[in-house]
């Protein structure tokens, strides 16, 4: 039986020290973010000096250096992100499967339909046309790999945009998004996104006076 202690070796003081708060904050940010984060965004979130952030990043980068952990800290596309170490990928591949797609509940299917036909769409828009807060449903669809974030809208608050994934196409046997079935009853095709959007919003308004 072993006892574990996470320590950084500090070459200046020649001693093992606990991780500092700034490094822990950066670690939390990088752990949670779905995309690489540039140093200046990290500094703003931590309300810290750019130079201090740079230094903590270097520390983190050597802590999460190759072969050290299950994931490594990498600098890609102008930002920092954790990525799984290549020798751990085989294990992750063996994990998938667990979740049968038949578990798409009516609420999830409705949310997925809205996202599919209106994409790219925001959380607020999905909630508006469904008439219920759809936060959980969107998160569950992201978790199932059926939708994903695709940047931010160019509107106030810059809300996250969602779009369907290649896995979504595969699950429904579609070659492309243009293959989405038309709304037979309403004479609308997947291409009539604006028309669909207008009708959905108008109906939502009618439902909640």
């Amino acid at each position: 039986m072993t006892t574990a202690a996470v320590l950084r070796y500090d070459a200046v003081s020649d001693a093992y020290v606990q991780m500092e708060d700034l490094a822990r904050h950066l670690e939390a940010l990088l752990f949670l973010a779905p995309r690489p984060l540039p140093a200046d965004e990290l500094a703003a979130a931590c309300a810290a000096e750019a130079s201090a952030v740079r230094q903590s990043l270097v520390e983190l980068q050597s802590e999460y250096g190759p072969g050290r952990h299950g994931m490594a800290l990498a600098e890609v596309g102008g930002g920092f992100t954790f990525r799984v170490e290549s020798d751990c990928e085989a294990v992750v591949r063996r994990l998938t499967g667990g979740r049968p797609e038949e578990e798409l509940s009516p609420a999830l299917l409705e949310t997925l339909s809205v996202a599919a036909y209106l994409q790219p769409t925001t959380r607020a828009e999905v909630a508006q046309v469904r008439g219920v807060s759809s936060e959980w449903a969107l998160a569950a669809l992201v978790e199932r790999g059926l939708i994903e974030e695709s940047g931010r809208a160019d509107t106030p608050g810059a809300p996250i945009l969602y779009r369907t994934t290649p896995r979504f196409l595969k699950l429904f046997g579609l070659r492309a998004l243009t293959d989405l079935p038309p709304m037979a009853e309403f004479a609308l095709s997947a291409g009539d996104v604006e028309e669909i959007r207008t009708r959905l919003v108008a109906n939502a308004a009618r439902r909640s006076p």
């Binding site: 939390a28 752990f31 949670l32 779905p34 990928e89 992750v92 591949r93 994990l95 998938t96 499967g97 049968p100 797609e101 038949e102 798409l104 009516p106 299917l109 409705e110 997925l112 339909s113 809205v114 599919a116 036909y117 046309v129 469904r130 998160a139 992201v142 978790e143 199932r144 790999g145 994903e148 994934t165 290649p166 896995r167 595969k170 699950l171 429904f172 046997g173 579609l174 293959d179 989405l180 079935p181 038309p182 709304m183 037979a184 009853e185 309403f186 609308l188 669909i196 009708r199 959905l200 109906n203 939502a204 009618r206 439902r207 006076p209």
Partner: protein, 246 residues
């Protein structure tokens, strides 16, 4: 009528509540009609203004809600059976129900405590990267038509709720008051059975009109035993301001 109500399932204007109930968007089951009446009475007391027109409209709406609710109750889904129980048995059953309920209420309090500590912890919510989602594990395939069907209900224009019968009823109460007054002036004391229409809802209106006459001191009502005949006796000229309790 600008009465605001504050209920478990609904907070807002009473008119909107009625509309939502008619549209099946608020479950009448979960509306405590007594709360609405209590709020109305409180408001009447606060403003000190009594307007027969709007009050009768309110009474009619409430009557309609009660009628709808009593239909639901007769079609009881909570499993309560209308068995004949003696008072002691009924009491014990009620006690057992209360004890059971209070236990779950306590558990709800414990859940609230857990929720406040844990609900807002931050977990990573990023799907597995695409390269790990190989086709091999996707042995199910869903029909694309499911997506169209999922969206269709939201695209369909919602039907405008039919509130015509409410407007009719509002008129009916005023008309019913007039009819009863005429009958009483013409032939003196009557029984409820002799003046009540056959339709249940209309019968309710007649009953509310009677209560209205009673509360204005125009008639006395007399019922000897539960569910027995109700005798209606006019009290001379109207409006009589004498105390009409009895």
């Amino acid at each position: 009528m600008d009465l605001d109500v504050d209920l478990d399932v609904f907070v807002g204007p009473f008119d909107l509540l009625v509309t939502l109930i008619l549209k099946d968007e608020v479950d009448l089951w979960e509306v405590r009609v007594s709360h609405i009446i209590a709020e109305y009475v409180v408001r009447l007391a606060e403003t000190g203004q009594f307007d027969l027109e709007s009050t009768s409209q309110f009474v009619v709406l409430i009557a309609a809600l009660l009628e709808m609710k009593s239909r639901l109750l007769a079609d009881d889904e909570t499993g309560g059976e209308l068995e004949e129980l003696d008072a002691a048995e009924a009491g014990e059953e009620l006690l057992a129900g209360l004890v059971r309920y209070s236990q779950y209420k306590g558990a709800a309090g414990a859940l609230r405590e857990l929720w406040s500590r844990h609900a807002n912890r931050l977990y990573r919510q990023v799907g597995l990267p695409a390269r790990f989602l190989h086709a091999g594990d996707m042995n199910t395939r869903l029909a694309p038509e499911l997506l169209a069907r999922g969206l269709a209900p939201l695209l369909r224009e919602p039907a405008v709720p039919d509130v015509s019968h409410i407007a009719d009823l509002a008129v009916t109460l005023v008309r019913e008051l007039r009819r009863l007054r005429a009958l009483l002036a013409e032939s003196g004391p009557l029984t409820f059975a002799s003046v009540a229409p056959r339709d249940r809802l209309e019968k309710a209106i007649t009953f509310f009109a009677l209560l209205e006459l009673h509360s204005r001191g125009e008639v006395t009502l007399d019922q000897r035993h539960a569910f027995g005949e109700i005798k209606i006796t006019p009290l001379g000229s109207r409006p009589a301001l004498a105390d009409a309790a009895g």
